[in-house]
Symmetry: C2
Subunit: 534 residues, 2 copies
């Protein structure tokens, strides 16, 4: 017996059709480098996407060619998300926060033929060009200035095709549409290649009420850069629903974000933990200057979200929801929503759950593996998080299988160490490489950091291991005080004492002006370990 269902492939091209036909009047808002905003209707964006596909085809772009982007978050970058795959080519988002040599290395590894670059990023491009030569460089006049003759002008290139529908070729749903390189804190960056299928499945899961709960009436602010894990898949999910999208452009300082939040009133914002730490600090420094939209949801990921941060936003009427995932998982793998059995829980219990990494979303299988095999979900036992699913990567572009990255039975080894409680909530305790082993016992850097960031004087905290003759390793805490605040090591130890055993407390506190950040906005512990080798 055979299913009678139509063999229709999943396709992100259908999202463009949907945007054009069903949501022509929905808006895409982009903040420009001069902080003015421009507004486009989905109808215009859909026409520009088709025009971009025509222009790329005219340039000679072939099926599965790589077309790279080096851009901030704005409407033209969104056009690349859909226009490049429409031609059958693969979008490659380059991370503008990496070193030029590394960007060049990645472009070379991916064999990018064409680059779309913001005009304000041309100084960076010129550095990259010393390491890799693109066949064509298309400049998006983001600042509004004229584009130099040596480059192709994005707007001039698409103009002749505006209003001309582009008919995409039929394709397999497993065909590639985008490649994204992991930030690679160890070893060289590695490419994850997404397909029509994986992207459509991720979009459906991300929209679910217990995930982002994204609907057409939402106003979505992706602070997450479009060069990080495909902006968490937000561009695809947004156009699927018809939501208004607000792109913040290159100005991402907390005060700039608060300005655009006030002006555009998002109902849902996406961004990494450090962004929200910065926002809450800015609000504390200038109380009363900004009012957050009541009922705004904020999906936060990239690193553990301290409970203190969730409570601080709750006081402003904002619901912070933690998600966990990575480039390799498209990225949404777990969400920290309130499960049905917690319906009657106290607000206290709910806050505690929301501070966990969350529950596996549909289509994602999750397990914990230790030296002794699979670890029980008892809330205490820890193991490496391994995941599996139709939008999880099973390998890396042009690299042989790596047993450090995938288990023998194919599950992805995430490198995160965690426990899962009886209700299925994941608690990340560390990255494998950040683990602190003191006298044969593990100390969780993440738990120490969360507790420190709950101290009223501390803005940011990162805990690292330093070598120790007797105990092998000992924790030290690198902290940044809030403006005008301070605390003694004794006071900080006293603050931690209720929650931690004495041997788990940091050996010392290093006071810094700012914590170094990785290219994806996480605290960069590698740099801290280099600075504090002992």
């Amino acid at each position: 017996m055979k299913s009678t269902m139509m063999p229709i492939p999943l396709s992100i091209n259908a999202i463009v059709t949907r945007a054009r036909v069903l949501f022509p009047k929905s808006e895409i808002v982009s903040r420009l480098p001069d902080k003015f905003v421009c507004r486009h209707l989905y109808a215009d964006i859909a026409a520009r996407i088709d025009a971009l596909a025509h222009a790329l085809a005219a340039l000679g772009v072939q099926r599965h060619d790589r077309v790279a982007t080096l851009c901030w978050n704005h409407h033209a970058h969104l056009e690349c998300y859909f226009g490049i795959p429409l031609t059958g080519a693969v979008m490659h988002t380059l991370n503008l926060r990496l070193a030029p040599e590394e960007i060049g290395w990645i472009a070379d590894h991916a064999k990018d033929r064409i680059l779309v670059v913001d005009d304000i990023l041309l100084p960076l491009y010129r550095e990259v060009a010393k390491h890799y030569a693109f066949e064509h460089v298309i400049v998006f006049p983001f600042s509004g200035a004229p584009v130099a003759n040596e480059f192709q002008d994005y707007e001039r290139m698409i103009a002749p095709y505006l209003g001309v529908p582009f008919a995409p070729q039929p394709h397999d749903e497993n065909d590639p549409i985008a490649i994204c390189y992991t930030s690679g804190t160890t070893g060289r960056p590695k490419g994850v290649v997404y397909s029509h299928r994986s992207t459509m499945l991720h979009s459906l899961v991300a929209c679910m009420p217990d995930s982002w709960a994204l609907r057409g009436s939402d106003v979505l602010l992706p602070v997450t850069p479009m060069f990080h894990a495909n902006c968490w898949g937000a561009p695809y999910a947004a156009l699927l629903t018809g939501a208004r999208v607000v792109f913040p452009g290159p100005n991402l300082h907390p005060e700039d974000l608060l300005d655009i939040i006030t002006a555009e009133q998002p109902s849902l914002a996406l961004g990494v933990t450090t962004i929200w730490l910065g926002i809450i600090q800015a609000m504390e420094v200038k109380p009363g200057k900004w009012t957050l939209p009541r009922g705004m949801r904020s999906v936060v990921g990239g690193s553990a979200v301290p409970e203190s941060l969730i409570r601080a936003f709750a006081a402003h009427g904002v619901d912070v929801c933690q998600g966990w995932g990575m480039t390799e998982t498209s990225p949404l793998a777990t969400m920290s929503y309130i499960k049905p059995e917690l319906r009657e829980a106290t607000p206290e219990e709910k806050f505690q759950r929301k501070a966990l990494a969350g529950v596996p979303v549909p289509l994602i299988d999750l397990r914990l593996i230790s030296d002794r095999g699979e670890v029980e979900w008892d809330g205490n036992s820890v193991g490496e998080v391994q995941v599996r699913g139709p939008y999880v990567t099973g390998g890396y572009h042009d690299l042989p299988p790596d047993p450090d990255k995938h288990a023998a039975d194919g599950w992805l080894r995430t490198g995160d160490v965690a426990s899962v409680d009886a209700l299925g909530y994941l608690r990340i305790t560390d990255r494998t490489k950040d683990l602190i082993k003191s006298g044969g016992e593990w100390i969780s850097s993440v738990e120490l950091e969360n507790a420190l960031m709950a101290h009223p004087a501390i803005a940011e905290a990162a805990v690292i291991a330093v070598p120790h003759e007797k105990w092998v390793e000992r924790p030290i805490a690198c902290i940044v005080f809030k403006q005008g605040r301070t605390a003694t090591p004794e006071a900080l130890n006293a603050h931690l004492a209720g929650q931690f055993a004495k041997w788990q407390l940091p050996d010392r506190y290093e006071i810094l002006d700012v914590l170094p950040r990785t290219s994806t906005g996480k605290f960069w512990k590698l740099k801290l370990r280099e600075r504090f080798p002992r």
Copy 2:
């Protein structure tokens, strides 16, 4: 270049794992024939699903064998939804409202090997058995009475396997899991075969915030029978999210439904239009006896939902959302939610939109085709609705392609006639076979019916065509008055006069005590046409 994503097939077996692992404490509530309720935890249901799979395997059930059900809505029927596919077999829900001969014909066409039947339906089974012999008959003791020795006892069959995990075989995502026969108002019933893939995709789409917005904290009441289009896919979607499910059992009179709504406080109820017409009438007859749960959503489909019904429920704090679809579309194809561009619309405008069949959901393509080709979406032009998508049927089980059912390019011909407005809202004006052509002009029976049901004296209305010498066809209206109410034909014509031209008004009104229903609860116009041939 190849996608690096894992080749993991979509599988409804993953829903069972998810139910067991993540939502063990969620509840399945079933109302028994004696109107008492029994409660099971998902953990128990998951164990019973595994046990059912073991028991079926022990009976010799093979991959792709058909296992039929003849059951009301209850937990054991839910177990069949998952336990049968777990063995690799295909669940076949038989419609207990059909004539025994027809049920037998369908079972024969599907080549059902095994039947699971409610004990209270054994009288019907004995009639069916005259037309078709199942190899095994498993009786579910729904009433609690002992099962006669001539049958297998469902509970005794699964008991030895309770607590024994069932390991399903690997499968392709296109493998069949369920077959459902269309009610076949014309010609013989035809079988639609769903796959793992189509069912999982439909579940994700159904859960989306602009579809049913189903989440773990919901309490779902599927009044829709489990033998209609797989209960609209609700069992799969519910277990995916962990929602509490309330199955109403065999007692479906409006007062019985109001009792269980009051007792179990559903947040989301699914059912056909006629069910909700009955409920609102019962509430008008006994005002104050029942209070509907505030904020309850009700997804209504199966036939057009009169605006008057939506308004009547709104007055009780219930949000009626219209959906449109059919067995062939799994079924959800359009939903009548409020689109983003209507955010600022008046309540009046919003009611008008909610009374339309809605907007195509993700993964569904929709077009209107008339004799002159594709029809524009202008809100006036009508054509046959044709749809396409990965959970739409491309044919029927064991039948050759039929140009009456599928267009030459593969789109499903739904047999519904409709217009679509500029915002993408579908307005069904008729079934192809219910169209009234008077003097060369079309009259919409659906619009006349909706207007009549908005009259304060009318409970139900169905408009049919009768032959006419001069005008070819003329409409007549078959109406049922509300208890204790009446109105003259002149008054009814006056009521319609504002909305319709004089030549569109019914030639006469036939007053009935009750309108005949099809096996899926729609007004049965075929029977009315037989009764009023002229």
